[in-house]
Each structure stands twice: as C-alpha cells, then as structure tokens.
Subunit: 210 residues, 2 copies
DNA sequence: TAGATTGTTAATCGATTAACAATC
DNA sequence: TAGATTGTTAATCGATTAACAATC
C-alpha cells in the first residue's frame, strides 16, 4: 500500500527512526554535511542494509559513494513521523512518572507540547510541573476547549485508567498514550499506544538469565 | 533450541508475558480459580491462539474445556521470567525520571530491588528517594561491594550515558537498563536493554496521522 | 455423550537479510 | 577510471495464524 507515493513503513522501522534522528541531530550540531548508511549502522549497532531500507521508507534519496545529506535526512525523517508539526497533549496523573514526562525535553523537540496536567489530589492542584499548571480533573472538559489537545497522556494508577481514558475521550481526545499497566477498551477510532515498563524488564531479566 | 526442555520464546512473546501476569494477579485477587486463553485474549484484545502459544513457552499445561489454573499460571510465567527471585539494581541519575522509576511499585513486585541511587549534583546527595539513599557517583564502587547489584539503571543525560555505563561495568554490573536516548558501546558479555520513549511517540504520531 | 478448549503441526504473513545492478 | 555506496528485487528467517486431533 502506498501513501503519498511512499510505502507504509513496518512498525519496527517506525520505532527505529527516532534513534536515527537523534544521531543525525548530533551530527548536524557537529557541522557534519553527509553521512552514509554504513556510518549510521556502526554508530547504532545495526546492519547497514537495515538502515538503508528503513531510511528509504521516509522518501530520502542518497548519493552513491557519499551517502545522505544530514540536514535533508533530518527533515525527511521528521516529516515522515509528523514531528515537524506542533501537536498539543494533556497529561492526567501528576505523580512522579507524570512529572518526569512533563520534564522530558525530547517531547518538545519532537513537536509535542504538554500544555497542562490534571489530577485529583488537592495538594497537587494549583501547583506547576516544569512550568505547566496542574488542574483538577473536573476542569479537563473546560481546559480542553482552550487547548484542544489531540493526545492524552495517561499516568494514573491502573485501577482508574479505564475511567480516566473515557473522560479524555469524552473531551475529544483522539489518541491516548497509556503508561499505566492496564488494557483500555475504547471506541476503535481512538488511537491507543500502550507503554509497558515491565515488558522491557522482562526482556532484560530473560537475557540476564539464571 | 531447548533450555530446560522449553523452547526459547520469541522476543514479542517475552514482552507480552508481563501483561498476562498483571491480568492474572488481578484475577487471583478476585479469587478466580481458572482462566481460559479465550478469556485472557478478550481482556487484552489479543487472539486466543496467540495467548495459548505464548503461554506454552512457559511450560504451563492447561485442561481442555477448563483452561489454566490461575495460581499455577502466575507461578509458571513468574518462574519463566525469573521474577520469582530477588535481584538488586542501582540507579544512576536521580533526576525526575530516576525518581519516578525509584517509586514504581511494579518493579519490587517483580523481584527487582533498587537499593540506591547515585548522582553528581550536590543538592541531591544525602537525600532519599522513596526511602532509598542518594549517594555521590564516586561512591558507586564502594557501595557496590555492599549491594552487589547485577542491574544498573541509567537515567542520566545522553551526553554522559556512555561514560556512566562504563563506570557501572567497572563495578561488576552485568546488565544495563538504559533510559537515555544514547547508544552504548560495551563489552559483549554485558546485557543492554534500551528503553526509548521516543519510539512509542513515533508509533503514536504515525497512527494519528496528518 | 457433546462440545469447548488445549496443544501441536502446517501454512501464512511480514520483516530482515542477501544479491546485485546502477551510479556518482 | 575504480570502487564505495545506494536502491531494488529476491531469498531467508522468524512470528503469527490456521487447522485439527486429543481430551476433559
């Protein structure tokens, strides 16, 4: 299937693209003009054929013998991921993980603006987290009228994840990034991205063995 | 390849097992005795055939018509992942993400004990994070003699990730769980698990489209 | 017994890797 | 020019899904 003349990229490719971008932005800061798939592969411990294949999905065209223009490749990947446009997000659950995500610079560099946080704990309401206000969850509807966030970040305890997600959906949120270890059941037009810290731990302990 | 009479599980299977475990622990709390692959699949939005296949890697044997014993299945998955044994970890980088990981209950439930945090910022040294002490990074070597952690959790800025990882390796750490968006180059006997928040964001924004 | 569910073997699907012509 | 690197098509590999006999 082709969209805009580009084949749909496999999920593992999409997941690797941010790592390429990170490396390229580093190279750009160091005034590097061009970079080959071989260079990228070596830096990230991948195979160069995989790098070339991944990059080709973004529509970039390289030069034999030379490689890719660093600036052009950054734009190609950013554009492909939709990271050259700003998008607004709200975060629900101003606990320590929520605070960490509010403070993560990477998101704003990728066009994601977390405009506000919401919680129900009285001691958190009215505070700020990394410069952004914390509102009571009851104000979600009203604040959404102002911000119109498309993405809702969920960092609440698993027991209230489903009901909180439903509140987000009710305010017109289109996608939910769920950091709580609970499966959400939502209308199918809602995009859900499940983030599971335990999955990473499982891989780690399995590899570690014994 | 078989280990202990069990085939090696595919990586995607290993990553799904914690979600099964979470659901099962919930069922156990609700006094449920048995559960079928169909039930699990429905709750987690998966296909029952995939659930059966995944579970079979852990060595569990079910009963046709009935399913699996909840308690037995919990033990089977926990045992397979090595989560029924305690293992010690240290965390380097007591920033907001580090603090969030120190406070994550899920880890201790899976046998992972984060015994201490390390940092270089004077205002953090001597403090506690969720009840665990924060030491200066220079004390890592000495503290490791006491704790003997096998796992090092890395939540430092990417610019110092490599050098910090090398310090961890020098103290005898066997595995590094890297939350910093930097690729580590370490001796091959060291297990590295890369955790990349941006990868999840990439999938989310691609699905969201436009 | 009847039939739902397990466990295994085979088929399919999709991602990775290999091969190689094109090209700067 | 010579040769390193790209881009594409084909082959391989591994995970998912289908089919179905076994069984409680």
């Amino acid at each position: 299937m082709k969209v805009n003349g580009l084949k749909k990229a496999p999920l593992p490719t999409v997941r690797r693209l941010p790592a390429y971008l990170h490396l390229l932005q580093d190279a750009f800061r160091r005034m590097q003009i061009s970079i080959s798939a071989t260079d990228i592969a070596e830096a990230l411990h991948l195979e160069s054929i995989q790098v070339r294949k991944d990059l080709s999905y973004t529509g970039i065209v390289g030069k034999p013998r030379i490689g890719y223009q660093v600036k052009e490749l950054i734009d190609s990947i950013s554009g492909f991921l939709g990271w050259n446009r700003q998008s607004c997000a709200v975060l629900v659950g101003a606990g320590s993980l929520g605070a960490a995500l509010m403070g993560f610079n990477g998101f704003s560099r990728h066009g994601l603006q977390i405009t506000a946080a919401f919680d129900v704990a009285p001691d958190k309401i009215g505070q700020t987290l990394h410069g952004r206000p914390v509102f009571h969850l009851e104000e979600l509807q009203e604040q959404q009228k102002l911000f119109g966030a498309r993405i809702g970040i969920l960092t609440v305890p698993p027991a209230v994840a489903q009901q909180t997600a439903e509140k987000l959906v009710a305010t017109g949120i289109e996608a939910i990034w769920n950091f709580s270890p609970a499966t959400l059941t939502l209308p199918e037009q809602i995009t859900v991205q499940q983030e599971d810290l335990s999955a990473g731990l499982a891989v780690l302990t399995m590899q570690l063995g014994q």
